[in-house]
Symmetry: C2
Amino acid sequence: MTEKPAKLLPPNPTIGVFDSGFGGLTVLRDLLPLIPGARYIYLGDTARLPYGSKSRETIARYAVSSAKFLEEQGADLLCIACNTASALALEDIKQAMPIPVVGVIQPGAEAALATSEASPSTPKSVLVLATTATTQSHAYAQSLNALGLAATEKACPLLVPLVEEGWIDHHVTAEVLRIYLNEAFAEAPNAQTLLLGCTHYPLLQPLIERTLAELNHPMTIIDSAAATAADVAAYFPPNPNGAPATSRFYATDSIEKFQRLGSAFLNQPVSEVHLLDLGG
Amino acid sequence: MTEKPAKLLPPNPTIGVFDSGFGGLTVLRDLLPLIPGARYIYLGDTARLPYGSKSRETIARYAVSSAKFLEEQGADLLCIACNTASALALEDIKQAMPIPVVGVIQPGAEAALATSEASPSTPKSVLVLATTATTQSHAYAQSLNALGLAATEKACPLLVPLVEEGWIDHHVTAEVLRIYLNEAFAEAPNAQTLLLGCTHYPLLQPLIERTLAELNHPMTIIDSAAATAADVAAYFPPNPNGAPATSRFYATDSIEKFQRLGSAFLNQPVSEVHLLDLGG
């Protein structure tokens, strides 16, 4: 990580994790084993999702109101486990919050760098798949370029609806992936690293791997969930004897849908979901 | 229409038209030539769309706040040009509003009846394609059954994202339609009428017709836009010498996107869009 924590936060912390929906649960899944004794509060702003097709101003307004709720619940640190909110509203959230805020863009870019071979003459070329709003912000290109990597950003607006339809191993999703990847390769034929710039996409990783093999274009696939979780853990002292982490879930829309879809992302049952009205 | 207006409203009325997004512009398109001298105020709640994947409570809250805005702008009548809001929140909106409110469900059901052949022994079978929330409400089935028609409701959650991606004449959309229609025909093999229960779907009508021909399953296709416009017009006295109608557009998210996507639905340029903050 580029920005070291100014001071370590207390053990047994409260950590707020925010996403527009369910995807951020893939980050929580990687956080759970890393910080024993932590109390997690997860907020999915499901009444106002998706963020990925909306404007910067609207995304910032929604994300800041969600972040304030988590801080009011006692969060010592906030993890923005949403690529769109991290790409478009991280500075707005940081300015509104008196606590440390960690997004997913910078950890993702650094994870892409870590797979890079040292070759000063030809910069490693990274292909980023993301929502329309994330690609239009160019947040990933800026972070990757600052690390000396070439970047191509490809908007994939149909992938989130396909995952939410449950078509994660489906011939229609494979065809949509072929179309998006071929369009991207026309622009970036030498891309070696594929960065999954949306927390829904890790559920498609097996299908993406098969599609890349069919297209005869092998790539290293990076998702920022693990790297983001490691960045969050660096804020806290080791606490090997801490109790198991606990989680509490809030959603701004249907609790039943959150429980049903959420467990696929968290890879374990999601219980005790509370309905929250953010006034939207 | 089943419910006659209690009294005719004045000529040169102000008519509020509401949708979660752009689809309601297909209803406005059909209204414009019907009521000369009318002043239309269109509100697309684009910051909170889509409604079709959300819960009844959230949809009702969003729809009522949008309806109140249009009434405050001086609307004499409100047209809920959104299938999801009509299916789940029409009663909530009517209770909150001192002005007449017309939804799209009842006019759509009556238009399906009008295509029916008189055959008391075998009720005409209607297949309704709609969003998840609309199908789960069973609002169309209730209206169609009350008219003596058999109804099968099929949720098609990928069609709105495909239309918004611009893939309205695309082999992926054709394949998704084949899948949805075949699943529906397994349940309703004798359906003769296809009711497009979402204002995005009329843009797919040519592709739906081609797909039905390939599947060797000819159907009469109904969209409720024209029937809804006729129901609204019945509230106003004929005013053949009225000035041309005028329109003013409000959106709760990106004005640029509203202008760009909106003109495809309205079939003419959408200008003068105002950004509105409903506090969401």
